[in-house]
Symmetry: C2
Subunit: 349 residues, 2 copies
């Protein structure tokens, strides 16, 4: 995706020149941002609210493959996955800092694309880029983003508040990002074997977008407030549904029954999973990168969420000693594991 047309070498600008070039159009959007880029540190004023801080690191060759991920999408995604953690606290993201280690394989134009994607996400979420560090890397691109958000004390939702009997809910649908990745990897393999063949990605916009341009659920804290529902626990789905449920259950010291037939899976995800001979349920459980929100609510809040198209109830919390189980479509109960691939792929049901 790195074109060599109009290539400006990073070294031609130097570190300060590059930062200035990439950040000169950044405009401050939040009152709480007193001072952004340009000093030893940014200054933020939260006027008595609490702030939440989260950080994520993305490494080329581990978290992304630039042979099929455009840099603009990568910038958008790098910001989105961080903001997702802030929403998972039921908070509102306000600022980010961005640190990049860049090899000289990248041109200034390539980094402009990356920044354009980041700024698109910042625009969408009304977030300010308030600082960062830009350095050389010996090979590849490493991205480290720290997101800062604000929240009223009474709205904060941790992972450890789920109670026995609480309902387990998830937003949107699951497994799409993983199936989208399979599709991109298949087309990459075909391209490497036969470079003249054009990639066949048509008609799969939804799952490709789930993988390449995930949307952090900005709308959910707002929706929950409107519905007057405060979740008892919440986490975002970055590593796969199974792993996240295990986090909530273990930190809340409860068990959980998850119902396979309730897991929301988009038809496009379902069909493409089948085409790859993958179990769509396994894609949802272990695929990850969906960046939906998984949360528990008290049973008395059930009427408030039951008709909502953005929220699906997929299970309920049980006593800790019952463990965390998947109740399959066939009605049998399997202990859920974060490394659920092998056991589930071989479950023969």
């Amino acid at each position: 995706m790195l074109e060599n047309t109009d290539r400006t070498e990073l070294s031609s600008l130097g570190e300060f020149g590059l930062i200035k070039h990439l950040t000169e159009f950044i405009e401050i959007k939040n009152e709480s941002t007193i001072k952004g880029i340009g000093d030893d540190a940014a200054v933020i004023d939260y006027k008595g609210k609490q702030m939440v801080v989260s950080t994520d690191m993305l490494v080329e060759g581990v978290h992304f493959d630039l042979s099929y991920v455009p840099l603009k999408h990568l910038g958008f995604k790098a910001v989105s996955v961080n903001l997702s953690d802030i929403y998972a606290m039921n908070a509102t993201p306000k600022q980010i800092t961005v640190s990049l280690a860049i090899s000289n394989r990248f041109s200034v134009e390539a980094m402009e694309e990356f920044y354009a994607g980041m700024m698109l996400a910042c625009e969408k979420h009304k977030v300010d880029i308030v600082g960062g560090d830009t350095t050389t890397n010996k090979s590849g691109l490493v991205i480290s983003i720290t997101a800062i958000g604000e929240v009223n004390n009474e709205d904060l939702v941790y992972r450890d508040g789920a109670k026995e009997g609480d309902l387990l809910c998830v937003t949107g649908d699951l497994g799409g990002a993983y199936v989208g990745l399979q599709l991109l990897e298949r087309e990459k393999r075909i391209f490497l074997e036969t470079p003249t063949v054009q990639p066949d990605l048509g008609g799969n916009d939804y799952i490709l977008e789930r993988q390449l341009k995930p949307e952090a659920r900005k709308d959910i804290p707002v929706l929950l407030k409107k519905l007057e529902v405060k979740p008892t626990s919440m986490i975002d789905v970055s590593d796969g549904l199974a792993s996240e449920i295990l986090h909530l259950a273990s930190q809340s010291e409860v068990g959980c029954n998850l119902y396979e037939d309730k897991i929301p899976i988009d038809p496009q995800t379902y069909n493409m999973a089948r085409e790859f001979n993958l179990d769509p349920t396994v894609c949802a459980l272990s695929g990850g990168e969906d960046y939906e929100l998984l949360f528990t609510i008290s049973q008395e809040d059930f009427p408030k969420v039951k008709a909502n198209p953005d929220i699906t109830i997929i299970g309920h919390m049980t006593n800790k000693k019952e463990g965390v189980n998947l109740i399959t479509k066939g009605g049998t109960s399997h202990p859920l594991t974060a490394q659920g691939w092998d056991s589930l792929l071989n479950k023969n049901e």
Copy 2:
């Protein structure tokens, strides 16, 4: 420095296992840290104070060489250089997040050493590690740390407040970290050529410590408060005195006269620079990594700082149109540049 005795592979713990293992002894030191590691985000309560945020990224092979930097020192330094930015705002650091990309060349024991160094610095500065991300890297180690501090609005010091006539001050002494690095690199070259020769580092503890284990100037904001001096501008010396003076001057829109004979250089730095045929002044101007604080004060505050052994007055700010100049020991004036190496090395004085 990586011993193979008692080696535990990173893969044997997995990401969550490694984080748990490395962070289980972290104890919260600050009231403002409401929630540390273990959720989607940390929660921080600043109760009406302003917070400052700074971030730095360190890349193996670019910022450090593990063939002569012990991992424990590296952990200490990685934290210190971030806290230095917080002190440069006249603020007090309170929390950090730590993201690491680690190749499987490192063992669990090696990362324990790194964490031990980080925790030593955190202990010294009473800072909480409140979050982070740990991921695989294809090669080498990348460290990204974000530091958060607090400050009363009236105590904040930016880079852009220096006025014509203000005095330019620096803490401690300069050039030592750079000369220490030259010494380490020389001994590494000798070791690579003749592995049986033991490194000759004796008697150079001070400059080695300046390079390997720099101390962020925690004491200076406290001292300034005690002296009732509020600097008009401040920055930390990470890239070298010349570069930092140029930042203060350009952001404050003033000029500066820096007096070569006033620049504080330790005798050990001076002598070792001479041994390497380096101009000690150039080491101070362009060496960097000293992590001292450079600041400007109003002339009327002169009596308050003049007798202080931690502070040296090295120049004064002038009208912008006079530019930024080094007044040499010989009394001549040279325009100062951040890339001051070549011109200064050839100044023949």
